[in-house]
Symmetry: C2
Subunit: 98 residues, 2 copies
Amino acid sequence: MFVHHVFFWLNEPDNLDAYNQLEEGLNQLSTIDTIQMVHIGKPAGTNRDVIDSSYTFSLLTVFENETDHDIYQHHPIHENFIQTCGQLWNKVLVYDSE
Amino acid sequence: MFVHHVFFWLNEPDNLDAYNQLEEGLNQLSTIDTIQMVHIGKPAGTNRDVIDSSYTFSLLTVFENETDHDIYQHHPIHENFIQTCGQLWNKVLVYDSE
């Protein structure tokens, strides 16, 4: 199992157009067919010192293996996402786990 | 769906006893019965600017809802994990997404 978890911090988190555009982009990404499990998330209401809830959106994708993740990374839908949404965020953080 | 993703940085990542103790603790945690899906991970081999691969272990748990997550947090197995393993790490970071 290959777990790919991405966190996005919007430039303007209160800009509803930007918020909706990123959410729509994430919805498109979630259709890439090598994904086994996907979750588009927003910070939960939990609140402890060790919790980072400063991000705007999370995207959890699970793949069977790294090869399937690599197909996702180079998929035209992913490349289109970077082109159309890449200017919306000022920080993105990725954790890949196997 | 409630996604709870935790990253652990061991005090001594090259100390095999500490490494094995934390891994065994995570294996115990993964038996808590409100968990719907669990993955104990280590950094994958991917390497880009946006990827943080500095942690030692990740623990991804997925719950049906926040109530099931809260049961997990207060479960005796979780409390035992904190007591027996809490001294092993110098940093822990949590992302909760809904």
